[in-house]
Symmetry: none
Subunit: 222 residues, 2 copies
Amino acid sequence: MQVEQVKKRPGEGAQGASRVPLYRQISDTLLAGIREGKFPVGTFLPGELELIDRFDSSRHTIREALRVLEDMGLVKRQRGRGTLVLSTEASPAFVQMVRSPSELFSYPDSSIFRLLSDERIKANKPLAKELGCQVGDEWVQILGLRTLGEDGIPICLADVYVIPEYGSIAQRLGGSSSPVYEMIAETFKESIENITIRLTAGVLSEQKAAKLGVEPGSPSLS
Amino acid sequence: MQVEQVKKRPGEGAQGASRVPLYRQISDTLLAGIREGKFPVGTFLPGELELIDRFDSSRHTIREALRVLEDMGLVKRQRGRGTLVLSTEASPAFVQMVRSPSELFSYPDSSIFRLLSDERIKANKPLAKELGCQVGDEWVQILGLRTLGEDGIPICLADVYVIPEYGSIAQRLGGSSSPVYEMIAETFKESIENITIRLTAGVLSEQKAAKLGVEPGSPSLS
DNA sequence: CCATCTAAAATGTCTGGACAAATTAAGTCT
DNA sequence: AGACTTAATTTGTCCAGACATTTTAGATGG
């Protein structure tokens, strides 16, 4: 039905570019401007109306782009005033979360972990064999990449498969007592030992888990 | 067209209540519903269209409300699927987690982690693309499988790639202060947040690390 | 000169509508 | 039964307009 579609005008250049949302392109442009010094820290970004004119887009899109910068902590928006540039570097969300007093700055470990994907998949043959399960079983695949610094080199790629049912348990653990995490982590570390790796993973239950009626507290996972 | 707008309550009646934006009221209502169990964790919230009908507002407003919940880490939105309820509590739960001293009561979590393989490989094309490195770069692939009980069903397969150089640093970290682990763990969790996953990874020095002679104290990784 | 008022500017909130893209489930064909 | 196609559902992106609220600066009047 809607196949014919006029393709709108944004796609005129290249559909490759259209894969990146407009508001993203705009936020990237503004971000570059901030880093280049076009919009120094302490000054105000152009108003929304001017940005609308400059990027030839709707206000909603402009605001979406500005929201990206705001979420990054680069700007602060104030009604009646404007969009104030706060910083040129994105402050990783964890910075303000780490309320630990000292051990924070002890290491200039500016590694950043970025979640690549998080999706339910069904085990194909090779994966099923590796996991020792049946083909078609559902798993939750978590893909994450840890990089060093901003554009830094990649350090670690984590590819983890978790069964959905396990999610409910993990959720319970996370909800009530985190020390369990600690313990599991230690368990993990213990078992590996010679690698000094710690890992704990849990995924929240999806409707699947709800359907199965896995009540928290029932150790009847086996 | 904009039909005169019914003036809603902002006018003169209750300006106190009018201070709360509509999308905020909606998000609060949904939040209450989540906490009350109307939308259990693991299920999906009503679709946007239904919410539009239920709250008699525009889609933009509904989406704004859902964005609030998303930013709180309570729900996760996925195109084509819906809005999944992840948790009933916002993230602050993890704050006190790190500090909890002990109480590592034993949990009937008889999961066992078994190391499957641990070998150096060279990135092929797909892996290189995923890692964002060049083909041929060396990595250490760690394969582990976590099973439940002895012969139990598999629960989690971990496939981690770590650069050899990073191993030395991990060793340094692990050797001296564990708080760093804490921090990294927290970082990780924070970045993922909506999945309640924590992960830290490091690799003990192998002969390789020894050969490289990476002295502890040299932060010259970058 | 100073207080007050007014108007302009800027972001916040809200309503319409339309198409795009991803997911899922149903259906069809082999 | 299994693979492929189709259609329906759902969120993502984008546009155009309107009014509200806050802030700032200018104008006014004492």
